[in-house]
Amino acid sequence: MALLLIVLLPLLGAFLTATCVRSRPRCNSLLAATGPVISLTLALSLLPAILRGERLLAHWHWLPQLDLALSLRMDGLSLLFALLIIAMGLLVLLYAHFYFAGKPRDSQRFNSLMLLFMTAMLGIVTSENLLFMLVFWEMTSLVSFLLIGFHADRREARRGARMTLVITGGGGLALLAGMVLIGQVVGSYQLTEVLASGDLIRQHAHYPLILALVLLGAMTKSAQFPFHLWLPHAMTAPTPVSVYLHSATMVKAGIFLLARFHPVLAETDLWLYSVSTVGMATLLTGAFVAMFKHDIKGLLAYSTISHLGLITLLLGMGTRMGLIVGLFHLFNHALFKAPLFMMAGIVDKATGSRDMRLINGLWRHMPYLMVLTGLCAASMAGLPLLNGFLSKKMFFAESLQSPFTGILFWLTPALAAVAGLLSVAYSVRIFHNIFFNGLPGALPHYPPRKPSAGILVPVTLLAASCLVVGLVPQYVVHTLLQQAAQDALGGALPEYNLGLLHLFNMPFLMSVLALSGGLAMYMARRQLFALYDRLPEVDAKENFEWLMLRAGRFAERQVHRLENGSLQRYAALLMATAVVLPGTALLGVQAWGGGEAMTPLDPVTLLGALILIASAIAAVVVHRQRLMALLLIGSCGLFVTLLFARFSAPDLALTQLSVEVMAVIIMMLALSFLPQTTPRESPPLRRGRDLLLAGSAGGGVAALAYAVMTRPQQTISDFFLANSLTGGGGSNVVNVILVDFRGFDTLGESTVLGIAAVAVFALTRNLQLKGRVAGDSGSYWASEPHPMILRMMARPLLPVALMVSAYIFLRGHNMPGGGFIAGLITSVALSLQYMAGGLAWAHQRMITSFRPLVGAGLLLALATGLGSLAFGAPFLTSWFGHYHLPGLGELELATAMLFDLGVFVTVVGATLLILANLGKLMTLDGPGKEIG
């Protein structure tokens, strides 16, 4: 529970600070500090147990399916980091309280984000479950994104934030992959088990991949070469952020990871060469560039990179001692780098600048700060009596015992010495260049504003601890460090001593060399700056932005090329896919013909089919003359009808016929607003391609049809034939299927029609047509809009057609017909009235609007279906009975009729709604007026 509280209290604090006492900065900061203070107390309370070598574990279920558990672990390594994180956090909170003085909103926002970040860091170091660790790992990336983008109105801040997120987030993804791989190799995501499976992992085929992925995660987070670029650009963050994230915590997460996985991944050649090479490269690059940064925070950032490289190098050497020294230096680095960053922030606030070329001679104004800075800079440079000296000396010693052979063996200490020299140079620079070096340049604020006393408190505390650790390390950190190393390595520790003993030896010599060389280098700085300025300037952020922009543009171009808005292309792709995919399957067809005897051909059918084919081809040939093409389509419809009739499908024939006329009328209505001809647009090649595509699809369909038709048939249809009369009460089996056996399909089908009608209504509602294309310059003999002769003929026709429609409807159950066809006949008869009398004339005479008709039809069909529920039968269960009424004759009553009536009503409503609304477009007062 204590473990959980250690992690959760800052989180709670984050929520509280975000929501409570937002306008009172002091209360807010106090509130912010409460959580970490308790956490720190709790963590310290665990210290004795940890130092006894105990390992505390806590476990709560989260997602057992994924082995993702809320598992926490506290051992030496975790505790070392946890204490560092909480303690530094508290100091930063204190610092920030004064830093953001006068900006309560900023202060509050920082406090809550800061606590969120602290939670994330604590989570990383205390996770026992690898996946749970990842949660916090990504959380640090996200919160750091927000923290770096704290001043979002600044372009640099935004860019820096995004760059950080992209690099560390990307690393996080790699780490995710690495963790999952580890979990798969080990069979568990619990750290305890993973750490015990070092050999298993190292011998696994995936080991190089795992190592690469984990390293990618660690290196990006810890700003290792070549991923170090984000760190300097993250300096746009407010200084408290830099203090916490970029010196004390976040950048150490990668190191923590390397240390944590040391027993699992280290001690192989691959580890040795990859990690130490990266570390060395980072160490040198950072140190070299740091010297030439004029921005205080820039210098510190590169120096941080350099120190991180140093630690990585130490871990990379894979020796047990290397790890101990690495951890020690990590600790020391936090102690001296954090106050330096704090100093940078204080100077920035005081002078309004961070440019060391302008800031000179501040000792006059801030002597106390000068002393503190001196201490920390000296520690950074590795001057004796300070903590930096100790770890750096041990680093030199370690470099002398590198596991490399040959030239590499000597190269390591040599480069280490060079790096040491460079670090001395920039350490001197940061001290001398700010506080001495003559008079200040044109600073925004001069004389500098006096820093508040409070802001100096954390600096003082940290500087003092540098001294304390430097003097008596064995009493301060030794035991914890030892335990941390012990828990990280999981085995016996080599003999070592943190103290000042053995002052004069080879490492000491190297230190002296570095000191003097560094000093010399600083002396020669003007020449070096000049030299450096001549180097081509590479702005990583610009490059990053450029890269991102190019990637975006490239992607945009590709998108435009792929998704170019051409329906023709999409349709061609669809067809090509529909040809190729089934085509591959059809390669396996052994015989197309199925062996069944073919139905004998008769000349009339042949003729009909030929006319159908001729009409279809002619429609394609003349498709540019649209009305003609439409006519030919009408002819196709007629002959499809005749084919249906020929092959024993009278219902289909009736339906096809009525549908065809309606469709042609609708298309003609639309055609009056469209150009009457189609321009010749497609180049011959395109037409050829289209023909090939369409032809192969058509050929395939024909082949399939032939193949199936000549194969023997097995079907469930015998059931329908057998049960139609007895079970469905009708002898027209097709109709019984439609209204009974598969009435649900019919319900769906009427629904589709109803929706289409409503959709047409919605589409035409506000449609403003600019004037129709076909002219109506009346000639003398055709000037009447609604020819009288048509009108007179159409009128008596209506009741007759309705009578026929009633007949078709009623006989449907037993003979070809039914609600759908009857509905279409009714609609066609009524649409003839529209043609003969005009929309307005006919519409006034309709006894109902159409939309209610659609709704009522559907409801009737639904209600019929629901009726059976009352009898405990499933939806749409039909019921019928034959009654012999005295005098009236045989009477059949069937619920299916009622259902069919619903279909009928829907069809009438829907088709007329469509027609009327299309027709409405033609009238002058059409738009805006709702019809139907």
């Binding site: 808005g565 329906l567 067809m575 073919m598 139905t599 004998p600 051909l601 159908l612 279809a616 081809i617 498709h623 093409a629 084919l643 249906f644 020929r646 092959f647 024993s648 499908a649 289909l652 339906t655 096809q656 549908v659 469709a663 609708i666 298309m667 639309a670 607003f673 469209l674 497609s682 289209d690 595509l693 369409a694 032809g695 699809a697 058509g698 369909v701 024909a702 082949a703 399939l704 038709m709 000549t710 048939q713 249809s717 329908f720 034939l721 009369l725 027209n732 089996v733 097709v734 299927i737 439609l738 598969r742 399909d745 589709v752 929706i755 009608a757 959709a759 035409t764 449609l767 403003q768």
Partner: protein
């Protein structure tokens, strides 16, 4: 007869697809109609071809397969609904895109701000 039917289906499908690949809405609509003729005949012929034996029970034993007929009927109706809709849509698109080209007068106009 089967071969003739297959060829008719193939021609209808080919013509329909070819028209669907045209650049103007109206031929596309016509193409959709032809295509639906083709596929309806296809679905119909999946019940095999039967002469002179509608699925109306009259005491004789031989009947055409009624099920595909019912399915085709449904497909015809749905096809009709879709045709009606797409016709109106093409009208509306022609008005709003200032062209009856399937991609409008300027296919990229909605990419721009």
């Amino acid at each position: 007869m089967e071969l003739l039917m297959a060829i008719s289906i193939g021609v209808l499908t080919t013509c329909g697809l070819y028209l669907i690949l045209r650049a103007r809405t109206f031929p596309v609509v016509l193409g959709l109609t032809l295509l639906s003729h083709g596929v309806n005949l296809f679905l119909f012929s999946m019940g095999r071809l039967t002469l002179e034996a509608p699925a109306v029970l009259d005491g004789s034993g031989n009947h055409a397969d009624p099920l595909p007929q019912a399915l085709v009927l449904t497909a015809i109706v749905i096809g009709f609904a879709m045709t009606a809709f797409v016709v109106v849509l093409s009208l509306r698109a022609a008005v709003e895109l200032r062209s009856d080209h399937v991609d409008g007068a300027d296919p990229d106009e909605d990419r721009r701000l």
